[in-house]
Amino acid sequence: MRILILCQLACLVAAANAADEKPFVVPQKLAALLDAQGKDGNPVITPEQRANFDGLNDHLKALLSNAVEREIITRPDHLGTILTLGLRPQKMEVFLQDNCVLCHTDPEVQKPESLFSLSPASTSSPAHLNLRDLVDDVHFGRGLSCAGCHGGDPANDKIEHAFVKEWPGTGRGKDRSWILSFCARCHADPTFMNRFNPSLPTDQLTKYKESPHGKLLLETKDPRAPDCVSCHGVHGIRNAKNPLSKVYRKRVPETCGACHADPTRMAGLTLPDGSPIPTTQLAEYRASVHGRALLERGDLGAPACNNCHGNHAAMPVGLSSVSQSCGLCHAGNASLFDGSKHKQAFEEHKWPQCGQCHGHHGIVKTSDSLLAAGPEALCTKCHQQYAKDHPECRATATYFYTSIIQMDQAWNSFGVTAEQLAMKGLDVDAIHDKLNELADSLKQARSYIHSFSKNGFERVAAPGEHAVQRISRLVAEAKREYRLRQFGLLASIALIGLVMLALYLKLRSLER
């Protein structure tokens, strides 16, 4: 009880102190900027900008006032640009304590090529920096602003570009290998990175060096090779989970395709087997089941380039690792294939496992006709060429096809029948239950084709075949029930008709 009273007293004292705190009084100079009028007589600071100012806490208002007092901000339009950003308090604090950004956002002081502006045109050139990109940069959010890469003291009025001195004086654009070590100063230092993001890996440079990209840049010194900024950008680097990031999953195909879909840029570059690197991957991927899922449906579970090729260690998928890559998502099918006799046969022929039947970048939705004997029939095509002496395989493929087609047709037709019966008011719950069982079994049977084993397939297809028989019986019962209802109705109508006739006759006899 005493503790409670003490707590209440403490709260009262705190409240009294809070009440004593004086509200922030806007200094005269800052107030003059806020209230300044343009040539047309209207206030320069818009109501939104004013609202953003009013939303700042006293500490940030004091920092803003300090910049005005030091005459870094001297014009209302400059102040307006800063307020337009509507930054969160933490970012605003970094912004207002950084003389580089404060000075470079003043259109009166800066030349157009060194002005950080909000105009959309300034996204095109890094020198002509886009202010929105700067404040949205993942580094800026962590307090690492211009000085982090360019050097100097952002709190000092003296202009210094200490780090820039470390950059190669000439040929910076031609040999860009210095960029790797420059980014790696922080990104390869686990102790340093741990302060900001303990879960972020610090092995990017090591991986990159091992990749064909790295070798092309570091060993061949090919100017076409990508470096860190090719994929991540220079200013305006965003977290990979940010949809505006160039490495956001939905944008990865476009980022990789910037080089890999450009025949001029890729000319002369070869795969490990010496063949030229194709440039059709992006177009094939866009049309593929994966590309459509990711780019059209926005399904972020669908793979982009890096899910099979890797990120910093991006490289062609090795022959033996194709099924490993596919198996990361399609685990069931991959494990069935690994246990099948086809695995060994494919290895003997040096065929990529999944890719041999499904393709690589342009994987399309499979159809049951791949098993049939028509022109799309994969099994027949391959077996005629490489395994003619296995007639039993043909019989198995035919069995797979027949069984799946029967289940699929039953599922479709019974689905329609169930809908019709439901609309007639019949109980179709049991039919729906069995239809679900059939759908499960059908899905499993389609997957078990990858085992290429009749026994395994039979085991998972059996419940489906039973379900088909059960549904047939249930549908027949429901139809019988409906006929019974119709008969009942007819009988009732006949009975009512008789009563009506009797009534009519009675009425006539009464009124005669």
């Binding site: 008011g425 019949l426 109980d427 719950d429 109705l489 009506m500 009675k506």
Partner: protein, 415 residues
């Protein structure tokens, strides 16, 4: 009467299985319609009978209106009938929520939300109606109580008075009838004839319930159980009330959010209340009919009302829509198609009245049709067209009354 009796019988049978409650209402109805022998038939008959009862009442009300059967001394019969109709709509609204399915839940949320527009006590009334700020199990309980206890008791009491008046005062003779109508003994002649009609109704009801168990499937006349209500799920677009509330739903949509310093729904409610108020006191307004003289203005008022309701209902059914339904071009197409249908129906009714019944007074029908043409075919806003049509009709009526008053001429001698 017959349909009400069917409602009581089937309602009691449904009551034997129905369990109100968030976790049981939907499940019990599902069990009733799928597992209980003839449960499907009882629900289907109950739903069909409800709709047929409302159709019968609408027909009865408009025929009473047209034949001026509300003339003294039968004013109170009209008023009790008016309230009986209101109670029936209450039955429809409260019964709709009871299966606790998705459609019913959201339709009730939207429907009850309208009560907020009542001045001063709106929010309080909403709380009373819903049993809290939102539609919850509390709403279900009170709608259940309303549907199975309060409304039936009120209905039985009111229908007893209504029938007592009919019994005491007899059927209204045709307007201007000089000879006493042909009499008939209540029993057995009248009762047996009535029974014959009831049996016809029963047959129709059974056929519909067996062949179309979930209703014809048009918006507002469809009672497939569907999915269970989920209060946390987002409301889905295109929620529409039952067909007999569609006209008001559409009228609400025609009002802008703010008009004349009031909120749109509030103003709409005011207009609807005024119209319903006028409808309730017609026996006292129709002075000519009270003197047993033809009152063509009121006949025309009835026809105008029918056309007004028809256009709004057709529009709420999105007749003539193109895809996407909510696009501006589609809304325009709906207005114009519905306008053509309404104008066609209006022209047919005017033709029949002119040629067969000798009617010559069409100001209000004309106003209703002009409203529809201005809005649907010429593209004026619904309210703008309405105001223009009402003003023109008012001028026409005033001129007509002035002339007939001055000359003492009977307005075409029509009823």
């Amino acid at each position: 009467m017959f349909f009400f009796a069917v409602q009581i019988v089937t309602g009691v049978l449904l009551l034997m299985y129905y369990q109100p409650g968030e976790a049981t209402a939907y499940e019990s109805i599902r069990y009733l319609t799928t597992k209980v022998p003839f449960g499907w038939l009882m629900r289907s008959v109950h739903c069909w009978s409800a709709h047929l009862m409302i159709i019968s009442l609408v027909t009865h009300m408009f025929s009473t209106m047209m034949l001026k059967a509300y003339r003294p001394p039968r004013e109170l019969t009209w008023v009790t009938g008016y309230f009986l109709f209101a109670l029936t709509l209450g039955f429809g609204f409260s019964g709709y929520l009871l299966p606790w399915n998705k459609l019913a839940f959201f339709a009730t949320s939207v429907g009850t939300d309208l009560v907020k527009s009542v001045p001063l006590s709106g929010n309080w009334l909403l709380q009373v109606l819903r049993g809290g700020p939102d539609v919850t199990a509390n709403t279900l309980y009170r709608f259940f109580a309303l549907h199975v206890v309060i409304l039936p008791l009120a209905f039985v009491a009111l229908i007893s008075i209504h029938l007592l008046f009919v019994q005491r005062q007899g059927m209204a003779p045709p307007l201007g009838a000089k000879v006493a109508p042909r009499g008939m003994k209540f029993f057995p002649s009248f009762a047996l004839r009535d029974l014959l009609l009831w049996l016809v109704c029963f047959m129709v009801l059974l056929v519909l319930a067996v062949f179309v168990p979930y209703g014809p499937g048009i918006p507002g006349m469809d009672w497939e159980l569907g999915e269970k209500a989920d209060p946390l799920a987002p409301a889905f677009p295109g929620i529409k009330p039952e067909w007999y509330f569609l006209w008001e739903y559409q009228l609400l949509k025609e009002f802008p959010p703010h008009l004349l310093g009031m909120e749109g729904p509030q103003l709409c409610l005011l207009v609807v209340s005024l119209l319903l108020g006028i409808w309730a006191i017609i026996p006292w307004l129709d002075r000519r009919a009270a003197r047993d003289q033809p009152s063509p203005g009121f006949s025309d008022f009835g026809w105008g009302a029918i056309l007004f309701l028809t256009f709004l209902t057709l529009k709420a059914w999105d007749i003539g829509a193109t895809k996407p339904v909510t696009a501006a071009s589609s809304l325009k197409a709906i207005s114009s198609t519905c306008a053509w249908w309404t104008v066609g129906a209006g022209a047919a009714s005017v033709g029949v009245r002119f040629l067969v019944h000798g009617h010559r007074w069409f100001f209000l029908t004309g106003a209703a049709l002009l409203h529809v043409v201005l809005h649907g075919l010429l593209g004026l806003s619904y309210l703008g067209a309405g105001v223009l049509a009402v003003v023109l009709a008012a001028i026409g009526v005033t001129v007509s009354v002035f002339r007939s008053g001055g000359a003492g001429v009977n307005l075409g001698g029509s009823r």
